[in-house]
Every structure is written in C-alpha cells, then in structure tokens.
C-alpha cells in the first residue's frame, strides 16, 4: 500500500515503478492536466494528450528535481509542450457545436443565463490564439503564480504578464459585443 504522501514522495515511488503511487498522482493532477489540454486541443484530443502526458510522467519520473520546480509546474510543462506539438500537427481545432442541453428544473432561468454566459465564454476562448488560452488557463483556472506559469510556457515573467494582459483584453473584447438574450427554438 502507498500512503497518500506529498508529491515528492509519490514521485519517488513512481520512479521506482509503483503503480499505486502513479494512480494517486494521476487522480491528483489529471483534472488540471485535462483542463489545460482541453483549452488547447478540444475535449477529444485532450484526453489522448493527457494520457500521453501520463506516460511521459511515468517514463521521466526519475528526472524530476523537486528543488528545481514544483511538480505541478513540471507536469503542466509536459502537457503544454505536448499540446503545442499536436497543435502544430493538426493546425485547426474544431469548435464544439454540441451546445443544446438546457435545464428546465427550478431556478432554471438563472441556470440558463449562466449556461449561456459560459457558452459565450467557451466560444470566446476558442477564438483566442492557443498561447493566450494557455496563459489564461494557468493563471485563472489553475491559479498558478505568474512565475510558475511563465516557467510552464518558457517565457520571462515580463513576457508572460504581457501575454496574459493581451489574452484578457482579447477575451473581454470577444465577450463584449455578444447579445445577452437567449433564444429558444
């Protein structure tokens, strides 16, 4: 059995080939890995990319140095580079058009408004360049510090802040002109 220890301890066990430790580690980090991959690749490719990232984590577990970077930063870097490689191959990312489900339960009006806002946000995100999407995801979704996010993206801190600024402005601009009414067919 593997105690649910910290990332450092888990990684040592993963490097030694311990599958249970690997599963605990995956459960801990996969949601964030998937989030970043989804933002960059879309849902279907994201799962495959996350899977491949897990394989790389297993294969390179012995190379991670806790004194050099946090594990989450190291893992995000693997996912980010993998997604960029895939983006170079596929070039275009299909928009997810399956936005039909609407809830009729009590409080549904607010839910519908929120769902509508989230849809618009999703579409606005899709319109941003991949690096801007990654910058926003790392800072606002994964709540990384600027320096960690900059390390993941292999940027200087100043360049990362600049990218984040452009990304947020672009997102705001994408969201601004859209009408707030929800149409029902």
């Amino acid at each position: 059995m593997v105690a649910e220890s910290d990332d450092d301890g888990l990684m040592r066990q993963v490097a030694a080939g311990n599958e249970t430790a690997f599963r605990i580690l995956a459960a801990r980090h996969l949601p964030a890995m998937l989030r970043l991959a989804r933002r960059l690749l879309g849902t279907v490719d994201a799962e495959d990319a996350a899977q491949e990232a897990l394989v790389r984590i297993w294969s390179n577990a012995g190379q991670w140095q806790p004194e050099r970077s946090r594990l989450s930063t190291w893992i995000h870097t693997i996912v980010y580079r993998l997604c960029l490689d895939r983006l170079r191959q596929i070039r275009t990312v299909a928009l997810d058009e399956a936005y039909e489900a609407e809830d009729e339960s009590p409080g549904a009006e607010e839910q519908v408004a929120l769902a509508s806002d989230l849809r618009r946000l999703g579409i606005a995100m899709e319109h941003l360049p991949p690096r801007q999407r990654a910058a926003l995801t790392l800072f606002y979704y994964d709540e990384m510090s600027g320096s960690d996010a900059a390390a993941v993206m292999d940027l200087s801190l100043k360049a990362y802040w600049s990218l984040l600024h452009r990304a947020r402005q672009a997102l705001q601009a994408e969201l601004a002109p859209a009408p707030s009414t929800s149409r029902k067919g």
Partner: protein, 136 residues
C-alpha cells in the same frame, strides 16, 4: 493592471496593492472598472467550477496510460535482448533464421561440382588452366 491580474487584489504584485486600493477608494471610475473586471473573474470562476472530471473518467484515462506504459516496457524488453535471440522472437526473424539454416543444410548435403568457369577453361586450354581457375 485589472486587465492582467483581474479584480482580486490578492493576485496582484504586492507592491501595487496599496496604491490600487487607495485609487478605488477615491475614484468611482476605478471602482466601476474593478467591477467590470470582477464580472469576468466570476465568469471564469464559474467556468472552472463547471469543469469537473468524473472519477470514472480519471480512472479510465489512467488505465489507458498504464496499458501504453506496459506496451512500451514490452518493446523495451524486446529491444534489450541480443540480436541472435531477436531472430527467434518475431515471425519475420523466425522465417529468416529458418531460411538461413535450410541454406546451410542444403549446402552441406548437395555435393559440390567443379566451378563452371573451370570446366570452360579446361575445354579451351587444358587441365593446367582448369587448376589455375580453381585456385583463383
């Protein structure tokens, strides 16, 4: 600054927070700008909260990764064995090895006749030439 770090001052660089708070206290325009930024922050937070991954999905992805890892390890095992053993571990290798063995056995069983070049030389120039061609 709002358009980079959002409305939550806790996420701002420490040396800018006091000035930002003072500005918001003094200026209605600054407060309105912060409210606009807060609306986007809230939407991003809702989006984050909505993005849950079911545990079964996590498990499925991890299982699939472990299958890939096992396959990768098997490949590495095959790559690590000596070349002569590799010949017998894969169908193509087995076919090549069998063909080579069959060639050697046939070569040993079938009696070797004089080289054709030697026969032609002896017909033209006599047995001395035949020996010379045999040596060559």
């Amino acid at each position: 600054m709002l358009e980079t770090f959002g409305a939550d001052f806790h996420r701002w660089p420490a040396d800018r927070i006091a000035a930002a708070e003072a500005l918001c206290a003094a200026s209605a325009t600054a407060r309105a700008a912060r409210e606009r930024a807060a609306r986007l922050d809230a939407l991003l937070a809702e989006d984050r909260a909505a993005e849950t991954v079911p545990p079964a999905r996590i498990q499925a992805i991890t299982d699939a990764a472990l299958v890939r890892i096992a396959a990768q390890d098997r490949e590495l095992d095959v790559d690590a064995i000596p070349i002569w053993q590799w010949l017998f571990t894969r169908p193509v290798g087995a076919v090549i090895a069998t063909a080579m063995l069959a060639g050697i056995v046939l070569g040993l069983l079938v009696p070797a006749g004089p080289p054709q070049g030697a026969l032609a030389a002896s017909a033209l120039f006599g047995t001395g030439a035949r020996s010379l061609v045999g040596i060559l």
